[in-house]
């Protein structure tokens, strides 16, 4: 309720401005003798203006506490508004009780007109930003909504990271103002840092002042953005962290990031929040239609646990723990929606090489668990066509290194396999295991 009342402020403020400007006009006309007859209307206009001014001030005070506006600007706007209103009242009182010379009245009218305009302008700065009402920066400075046609093609620094800086930081660290001698409006400026040196240390989050300041507690004096300003969203922080820890470089695109990272989810949320183009679902994966309820029911009745990966994009993780029928048949039924299956967990199922033929249908797979199954290298042949696969768990299967030579060029594929030696494949290495075993009593 309070917030709602506060939000009436931007609407109400137009009334006292408009009405009192009319009042000033009438007062001006009154000083010319031929308009003397309008005297009767003058009080109605003034009082209407006064009431709306009071309403505006009250809603304004409520709004000031709710929103994260910069304190200084709010202070100026607030006291200008109250002061101007008081001056209007004083002027009205004097005008009704004393006779003044026309010149004096006119100069008062001009003064009041200027004051009310300035107050309005100060309010406008709060809602629209400092750059909104300036001629020189006509086009450049207005923050546009994110206008990326194809998110996959977007450049991480230029289209996303810089956008976050533009939106949140430039009012103090931009072309016009450089607090702490720091500018964040171009790549070179970001890299050269500010008063206290570099703000970004490539690939080192802990040493990057910019990230440190953002992560500090809000109550900390050094926290950025300052306490009373708009704060960064979690996903924006996540994106900045990713960018810095991956070398803060300028050439990589969204499509170069591996699909299953927090970064991709953050970009999705970011895109959701700021873009007007609705292609969120297409990030990394093509858009799919909803699966028919009957199909889903049929699959689930076999014991498949189907978990949507996110709310609306109809991609699923399928888990076979409760499949009672033979796993081959179950996979055959599941393959009706093979396009939708991104993660497939067949751990502990009695899947053999014959059942594995069904796997070739699941072209969209990104993660596959075949641990504790009966699959051998022959069954693995069926995975050749699955190009997006980036995780394959073969723990406790009778497969040896030679069987996996096909995958040696697939550096993006994380294999889990107890006997692997090639550490470039990021696997649990057995050397560690033997080291531990040696220490045991």
């Amino acid at each position: 309720m309070k917030i709602f009342i506060g939000h009436l402020h931007p609407l109400l403020v137009h009334l006292p401005i408009g009405i009192w400007i009319i009042y000033l006009l009438i007062e001006f006309l009154k000083t010319r003798n031929q308009y003397k007859q309008i005297d009767f209307i003058i009080k109605i206009v003034f009082y209407t203006g006064a009431i709306s001014a009071v309403a505006s001030i009250i809603t304004g005070l409520i709004n000031a506490n709710q929103q994260g506006y910069p304190t200084n600007d709010v202070f100026n706007h607030q006291w200008m508004a109250i002061g101007t209103s008081v001056l209007f009242l004083i002027f009205f009182y004097i005008r009704n009780h004393f006779t003044l010379r026309t010149v004096l009245v006119n100069s008062f009218l001009i003064l009041l007109f200027m004051l009310i305009s300035i107050t309005g302008h100060l309010g406008g700065i709060l809602t629209h930003g400092e750059d909104y009402f300036s001629i020189q920066n006509d086009e450049k400075k207005v923050i546009k909504p994110l206008a990326i046609q194809h998110i996959n093609e977007a450049l991480i620094y230029k289209d996303l990271v810089q956008y976050i800086f533009d939106k949140n930081c430039l009012s103090c660290h931009g072309q016009n103002k450089q607090k702490g001698n720091l500018r964040l409006d171009t790549y070179d400026h970001i890299m050269s840092g500010g008063k206290s040196g570099k703000v970004i240390q490539l690939s080192n989050l802990e040493k990057s002042e910019l990230i440190k300041r953002i992560l500090l507690d809000q109550s900390d004096e050094k926290h950025m953005p300052p306490k009373d300003n708009m704060q960064l969203e979690t996903f924006e922080i996540q994106m900045l962290k990713w960018w810095v820890s991956n070398g803060a470089e300028t050439s990589s695109k969204v499509k170069d990031i591996s699909a299953d990272t927090l970064m991709i989810r953050s970009i999705k949320q970011f895109h959701d929040a700021f873009s007007q183009i609705n292609d969120v679902a297409s990030i990394k994966r093509p858009m799919l239609d909803e699966i028919e309820a009957n199909t889903l029911k049929k699959i689930q009745s076999l014991g498949w646990s189907l978990i949507p990966l996110s709310k609306d994009d109809h991609y699923y993780r399928a888990v076979a723990f409760n499949v009672e029928d033979s796993i081959g048949n179950a996979l055959k039924t599941l393959s009706e929606i093979s396009k939708n299956i991104i993660e497939l967990k067949l751990s502990f199922s009695n899947l053999n090489d014959k059942d594995a033929i069904q796997l070739s249908a699941f072209r969209s797979l990104e993660k596959l668990w075949l641990d504790h199954t009966l699959i051998t290298s022959k069954g693995l042949e069926n995975l050749k066509q699955i190009n997006n696969l980036n995780y394959l768990n073969l723990f406790a299967c009778s497969i040896n290194e030679r069987d996996l030579s096909n995958y040696s060029d697939r550096r993006d594929l994380k294999l889990v396999y107890p006997n692997m030696k090639d550490t470039a494949w990021k696997i649990a290495d057995t050397t560690e295991l033997t080291a531990i075993k040696k220490q045991l009593p």
């Binding site: 992560l215 723990f321 409760n322 751990s347 889990v416 649990a428 295991l433 531990i436 220490q439 045991l440």
Partner: protein, 495 residues
């Protein structure tokens, strides 16, 4: 009036009880109930949409609202509170002050469980060294942990506001020191369900010969439907009591009897719409499935010899190591939340078992091997990427030697300390080989990176894909959450 037979007589007699008074009473309560019924319905008392969902399968796997790295959690709770000063928090200054009277400023206005008067400071009863690339300090009681220390994020300045076991344990698991709230595992299974309907989504294992002081409330479901409460399994004998069919009672007969009972229950659900009836139905179903699945998963004797050697397990005995191995087996089979309690860490120094240089060392040795093995084993199976492992007690221990009732205890021990203690987390997107937080030179107060119990809970929920401030359940007219009105995700330890 003359009656023809005894039945008619009884009938008439019965009728005579239905007086005008009876009619009025029925009107009053009946109409009242009607009115109350609609009122309660208006307050969402019988939230039907929810019930419909429950009716299908209350433990069906659900997506997390945000992208979560963790699919499962293993929470290793050292009940009794292990001494951080003999394990992780190296304080050479404290060694120098060993035996000195505790400065007044530390005890003024403080409440302790047992310390009275002026206690003496007690130096670390262990030697410390730095290990791993991360250079984390570890005591000589943690010989195995050295090799996995680069997998964990160590929180060195955790603080709680409870200094007795039961309330502190409740705070750690239910977000409040008072009874009646759901435990973390219940919240998580309520939010995410389980990927394996043959096993409970939330399993509790205890060792050390005692349940935690806070009793079963630390795995209770509070106001959540009781289907989400933790299922306690025994690691010795039958894992779940009374699960076996009696002799001569075959599985088909069991099946048809459960089906019949559930049909009757469904009828009474139709009549009363009490969600607890649904819990009962699904529990019968689960018990039936568990008869096969549980003995299988709870049997560690099938594990290869190197695994037993790694963990230090001895099949057939109740031990912490066995429970740790079981935790891995359960998580591997899709169990969402495994909660381990290990009693015996309450090192007051009143007897050899609680002495820092005797019983405590034994506890550390047992714990160290099993826990290190768990991290290695999860890692080699690719499970550490999606399993969050949390280790800790309910509070810490004082830098002062306990002087129960003003007299020095006969063995070296420490009292309960709520202001600063150590916990660690590993796996599922938690930073590897990282230390967060610092305490003062004697380990009494946090000086940097202080985190609270609610922060830990917020972080666990975050890794599972929840915003802890948005994950709520309406009860008695307000939305409740695990972290109540507190908690902040510990961002620095998230990679």
């Amino acid at each position: 009036m003359k009656s023809n037979n005894i039945h008619q007589e009884a009938y008439r007699h019965n009728l005579s009880y239905n007086t005008r008074r009876h009619f009025l009473r029925e009107c009053r309560t009946g109409m009242g109930m009607l009115a109350l019924g609609s009122l309660l319905d208006g307050c969402n008392f019988f939230s039907n949409a929810e019930n419909e969902l429950l009716a299908k399968n209350p433990l069906a796997a659900k997506p997390s609202p945000l992208l979560g790295k963790a699919k499962s959690v293993i929470f290793l709770h050292m009940a009794g509170a292990p001494s951080q000063l003999e394990m992780f928090d190296y304080k050479p200054e404290l060694q120098k002050m060993d035996g000195m009277d505790c400065p007044d400023s530390f005890i003024q206005g403080k409440k302790f469980a047992f310390i009275r008067g002026v206690p003496k400071l007690l130096g670390p009863q262990a030697s410390f060294k730095q290990y791993g690339e991360s250079g984390i300090w570890l005591s000589n009681h943690m010989q195995h942990f050295q090799s996995v220390v680069d997998e964990v994020s160590l929180l060195k300045a955790v603080s709680t506001d409870q200094f007795n076991h039961a309330p502190a344990q409740l705070l750690m698991h239910c977000g409040t020191p008072r009874l009646g709230r759901p435990s973390m595992g219940s919240w998580v299974t309520y939010g995410l369900g389980s990927e394996n309907s043959n096993l409970p989504g939330f399993v509790v294992l205890t060792s050390g010969g005692r349940n935690p002081d806070a009793g079963k409330s630390v795995w209770g479901s509070g106001f959540l439907p009781s289907v989400y409460q933790g299922v306690q399994c025994r690691s010795e004998g039958d894992p779940v009591l009374f699960l076996k069919d009696p002799n001569g009672y075959d599985r088909d007969l069991r099946k048809s009897s459960i089906e019949t009972i559930n049909k009757v229950n469904e009828l009474s659900y139709e009549e009363y719409k009490d969600p607890e009836i649904l819990s009962r139905i699904s529990q019968y179903e689960m018990a039936f499935k568990m008869q096969i699945a549980v003995p299988d998963v709870m049997n560690i004797s099938d594990e290869p010899a190197y695994i037993h050697e790694l963990y230090g397990t001895k099949p057939g005995k109740e031990s912490f190591a066995n429970n740790v191995l079981l935790a891995r087996k359960l998580v591997e089979k899709g169990v969402r939340f495994v909660q381990l309690f290990d009693w015996g860490w309450d090192s007051h120094g009143t007897d050899p078992g609680t002495a820092l240089d005797q019983g405590f060392v034994e506890k550390c040795r047992e714990n160290d091997q099993a826990v290190s093995a768990l991290l290695i084993d999860l890692k080699q199976r690719g499970l550490l990427d999606e399993t969050l492992v949390v280790w800790g007690g309910e509070f810490g221990r004082t830098p002062m030697q306990e002087n129960r009732d003003g007299k020095q205890n006969s063995f070296k021990g420490r009292d309960h300390h709520s202001d600063a203690f150590c916990m660690w987390m590993a796996g599922a997107g938690i930073k590897k080989g990282f230390t967060y937080g610092e305490t003062d030179p004697i380990g009494y107060n946090p000086i940097e990176g202080k985190v609270t119990v609610h922060d830990i809970q917020a972080t666990i929920l975050q890794q599972l894909g929840f915003d802890h401030t948005a994950f709520t359940y309406p009860f008695q007219g307000r939305n409740f959450r695990l972290t109540d009105v507190f908690g902040k995700v510990i961002d620095p330890i998230i990679s």
